[in-house]
Amino acid sequence: MHISMVGLLAAQTLLLAASTLPHPQGVLELRSRTFAAGDSLLVRGRNFEQDDAITLVLVGAAGRVEIGTLPTDSAGAVKGTVLVPATVRVGPYRLVAEAVDGDEVASLDVVVSAAAVAGANTVSTPTGAHDPAAHASMSMPGAPSDEPLALDRARSGAVTAAAILFIVVCLATGAVLLRRPRAHSLEEST
């Protein structure tokens, strides 16, 4: 009796462990991460549970807004269109894909903007100026790279000269302070 109870408990523990095993990490892809309320959103994704479904939820300051459920195919991929409700407030959101048991399996930072702005973000700014919309356009699915960007670094003779002077001053100060002082006993100093 005692052994069977232990066995039952062990089996329950295993079942619990199995039921809490995480889902595969999915990937969501959007044509643009900025869109407007009322837009139809083409969503693609992969690495999800096979022959299952994901529910897409916008999570933001205004709360959670479920925007649709898409079925996954035998490869764990999804492709479909969901409608962003016209009532969703403008602002930053996280687009979360939830498995059927409610677990978060993928997410993406997005912005719901006024209709005119949403259209504008597909135009990149070639100047490299500080423009968030430029990043939005670069974030669309494409070819990733592990090579550092060949950026035209801002240079200033004054900054470089000041840095070199700073290095020299630090080195000189350090050398003076690191010089071993004459024997300094505790009695002398107190």
Binding site: P22, E29, A61, H130, P132, S145, A163, L178
Partner: protein, 331 residues
Amino acid sequence: MKPLAERLAFEALAYPVPARASRVDFMLGALTLAALVALALTGIVLTQYYDPSALGAHESVRYMITSQPLAALLRDVHVWSASAALAFVMAHLAAVFWRRGFRRPREGLWWTGVLLLALLFGLAFTGTALRADQEAVEAVAHAVAGSRFAGPLGALFRADFTPSVSLLPRLYAMHVSVLPLALLALLALHLWLIRHLGVSAAVTPSAPFHTHLRRITGAAFVLVAAVTAAALTWPAGLLAAGLDGFEITKPSWPFLWIYAAENLFGMTGMLLAPAVLFGFLGIVPFTDRTDGRWARLTRAAGVVLFVLMIGAIVYAAVAPAQSHLGMDMGG
């Protein structure tokens, strides 16, 4: 000078410390602190240029590099100081472990040091994430995937944790407020314990602290000069804006040992490697209380872990990038 010294209570700095405290292996903690001060000062300036919004972060870093010479240099100093802080803190940890600086009554000193190390890793991780480039996006993806294994401890990485703010601004808040404040509090406790328990237990104090302070300040100046020179010579790069769903980069060197564990054991390895390291560091004061078999075993285990960690960093640096989350390798 004397009136100033009197009013600022400089004589309080004449308390005794061992003469050997001015040796390089006793200065590693102070050098870590110097790097942290450089990080704090440069970081404060960088906050004036950085945009922590999910869609603006990468572009703001790019803007710093391409349009603001001083901000670009300070960012490079920041990156190099971070590397210096992590290198010195690891060397400090190894030196204290070797000297058995965790034995009674110095256990608190050891544990605050271990927690400071964990916070430094947290700062390095959140700092990497802020770049929002490919390496950053992959680092965050790993953290999000790992958070599901971590139960409630991983709540921070879930969208529902604070729905009004996306993940990147939350990591930014951790990087510039939560982690530095925790670091400051722990550092204060660590320094207070050093002041009251002494720099070293093994030798009778024989020199006034201000001679030690003079030398560690000198070493700190040399470190700042070296870091600035490195920043001028080898500026920190930036990858293209990160794309989700790809695994093509490797983490920076302080995380390579975790990457190696992930190569070998998958996600379990990613979570297990830090757990083993910090678990070991946590129990050391219990297993090495007095000389004997356990003390010898602890020391041997520490040496093996250290060698494994260095070996793992070297292995991960030369091994080709691997996919751990089943994502696209970009090829």
